[in-house]
């Protein structure tokens, strides 16, 4: 099992969700996050005052998938979230040892 963590533009959330549903991914966790990558935010001026936006609001998706689905899901996320401009986000993958469904204590991939 692999955990996918994807940080994307908030405006792309619906597109990414649809793309994931299409390939059969059902569950995911969506978080409101703030952060910056290499672009390091920017400064806005409003009425002479500077507003530094050093942490840019983004959306983070977390999902754990059976290994054979992972590559498809990564492609789906990347394709749906891409604008080609700086700030499109990142996808991280990591191994997951086990999964437990709290209701009935099913374990492993069946719990996903």
């Amino acid at each position: 099992m692999t955990k996918i963590e994807a940080i994307i533009r908030t405006s792309k959330l619906d597109a990414v969700k649809d793309a994931l549903h299409e390939i059969g991914v059902e569950g995911m966790t969506v978080l409101e996050v703030r952060g910056h990558g290499r672009q390091k935010g920017h400064t806005e001026f409003y009425r002479g005052q500077e507003y530094t936006v050093d942490l840019i609001p983004k959306t983070k998706l977390e999902l754990v998938l059976a290994d054979e689905l992972v590559e498809k899901a990564v492609q789906a996320i990347a394709n749906a979230a891409r604008t080609g401009k700086i700030g499109d986000g990142k996808i991280f993958l990591s191994r997951v040892d086990d999964a437990i469904r709290i209701r009935n204590e099913e374990r492993g991939e069946t719990a996903l």
């Binding site: 533009r9 908030t10 405006s11 806005e44 001026f45 002479g48 609001p57 700030g87």
Partner: protein
Amino acid sequence: MATALLSSELRELYNSESARIQQDFAASGDGCQAVLRRARLLDQVITRLYEKLLSPEAGATGNFVLAAIGGYGRSWLFPYSDVDLLFLHAGRETETQLKDGIRSFSQELWDLGIKLSPASRTLAECDRFDPNNVESLIALLDCRYLAGNRELFTQLRDRVVPRMVTRESQAIVQRLVEITRSRHAKQGDTVFHLEPNVKDAPGGLRDYNVANWLALIAALDKLQNWPERETLLPASMRRQVNAGLEFLTSVRCFLHFRHSRDDNTLSWSAQDEAAARRIGVSSEHELTAAGWMRLYFQHARGVHRIGLQLLDEVPAAWSSLYRQFQTWRSRISTPEFSVVHGMVFLQQAAALQDPETLLRLFHFVAHHGVKLSTTTEQRIEQALPAIAATPPRGAELWIYLQEILLQPHAAEALRAMHALRFLTLVLPELKAIDTLVVRDFYHRFTVDEHTFLAIEALHRLKPSPSEWDQRYAALLSELEQPELLYLAILLHDIGKGAAGSDHVTAGLEIAAHCLERLDLEPQDRETVCFLIAHHLAMSAALRRDIFDPETVGAFAEMVKSPERLKMLCLLTYADIKAVNPEALTPWKAENIWQLYIETANHMSLSLDQRLHEGSEDEDQILRMLSPVAGKKLKGFLEGLPRRYLATCAAKDVLAHVEMAARLKSDPVQVALERGRHWFDLTVVTPDRPMLFAKMTGVLAAWGMSIVKANAFSNAAGVVVDTFHFTDRFRTLELNLPEWDRFKRSIADVLNGRADLDKMLRDRLRPGREPAARTKIETRLDFNDTSSSRCTVLQIIAQDRPGLLFRVSSALSREKCNIEIALIDTEGEMAIDVFYLTSKGQKLTADQEKGLRKALEEELQEI
């Protein structure tokens, strides 16, 4: 062996009787019977066990008593509540002797499945006050004899407890108030939860108990002895509170049986079932879940109101600090209303026959944040039927309502008006959302309470220490007509009470009637309707890429004017904040602010888009105006920027058209009006060099301080300049004849008949003005990309008399033509945006350099 026999006998008794209680409740729905019978059953079980294990007959000491305390002491025992028991010893030695006996006694009860909450204490320990554990002392207020040494119990109940309460009443009450207030705060300080906890939420059973304890402590303190329980609360309160107690008791019993544990949350599925079974309701009518919840809120509101009143009144009797505060408060009394202990009383009871007195009363509440006394509430209830025959309406109502909405405690006043059914009397449109539960995953409160919370959220911005709140507070203070925003909030979810899924469209229809009845000015009506119609637009825009200029452009296009943008931004902020306490994350606050500043900047940088055919809104305005203004209108509007129509009301446009038509006979048309916040000056005249500079010069010479200004010109070279200014020396305010002289001096200067320099020489002498309180750095920003025809210059500078005159003179000297000017002031900061051309072109880099230097010198000099 004997104990084992008893155990099985008791188990049989306990289980069968418990089952019977549950069956009877299922049949009758009578919660009071159920809790009383359960307490009796426990009495039986406990005394039997006592006889077997702890009585002198069983070989135990006689210096011991078993007492019921807390809810069990009150004989008010819910099916799955803890059973509070006190093992009271005369001294340490009995405690040691009985240790094993008490252990087996408790074990037996546990084995029966009874959740025991035991306390073992000596009489001397009960006499010791522990400020950190006031709860255990409060539990003793309800102590009841079960078994054992009666003499010992009498000592506890008639000597120790009353003595302790009289000695420590102040500390006990203070702590009780603290605990209660913090419990209320955890529950958002409101009764109106979508899924309330019937025990702990404000207006729940706990509040009923707190009210009783406060009254009991006050009476004990006064009588030095136990008062009659039944007459503790005044008769007027008792009726309401007892009805509430019966209802809430049945509901809590229902929840315990339903969940088979001490779970007091009235979830949506529980609400459906309670409505279907008509829990707590005597009538045979069918009830929807929403209808049943209305009954719940009605009872909880009554209990909460009385609880709050006692929370205020009882501590007042002791605390000297509190008394001082209240004395200060009573100084706010007026000939109409007096304030005693933070409660408002009417000076003349009959006065309420006049609905205006009632409106003034709520204004008083909204202004001072005081509560209505019970007598005042009763008087209002009595007066309402007469007022209902001819309720206040139209402009008369709106004048009072807007004043109420603008006061810092508006939400409290609205809640009081709503609780007394006065709010729905004057605004019947709100009936549909009265304690309305709309089920979704985000909202935590009923629709009406959500509305009041949103209004409260705006009023709480200013005193809030949060950085976000401060930013939005600044925005709120800039609004020209905040009352329209508050009214829009009051009506924004009004459509949720209507059938159908689109609450915005339904709400607009209902609001239209309401606004008509309030007789609002047409442009004000339009603003309120705009806000209701688009109250979700900003949240929707946040789901798109707010860093994308297209999103921002489209959003700006929809909002049109900066004033509306500010209002919509504040409405969105307040609306989200009132959904639930966690809804407004820093993530959302940041996003809203980001979209706001991007849009505000976009608006001031895209001012020079010209009017063009085809935009729906503009077509509509033109169609509306053309029968009146005819051909003159089309010629006049030709070439004016779109911003002109977005910022001017239809009646102003018509006035400008008329002024333009008169230019042939008099080339300088001047109109002066006194607005709500400042004077409004409009000048319509053919364009000429130095025009804007001269006008600002005349205003400076008269000592007027320009707050806002717009300068627009059409294709025929007719200029429409509007100035909003304050009259610092009250020249116009105090001398009506000066109005004409003022207008004439503008015309004279523009026509070259008066010497502006001479007028200015005296006025602008240095050193005459008070020093600035905040220092504002001068900033000059040139932008060549946002407009296709002009160079946009933004100037931020310390505001001071004559500033705009100096700036615009410098612009003229540098041969810049002002195509559009947008002047704004915030506190001591002047924010001026100019769209400049030179010989019909954008400025060259050299021209910009020269202009920057000239302006820097000019601004430094002052």
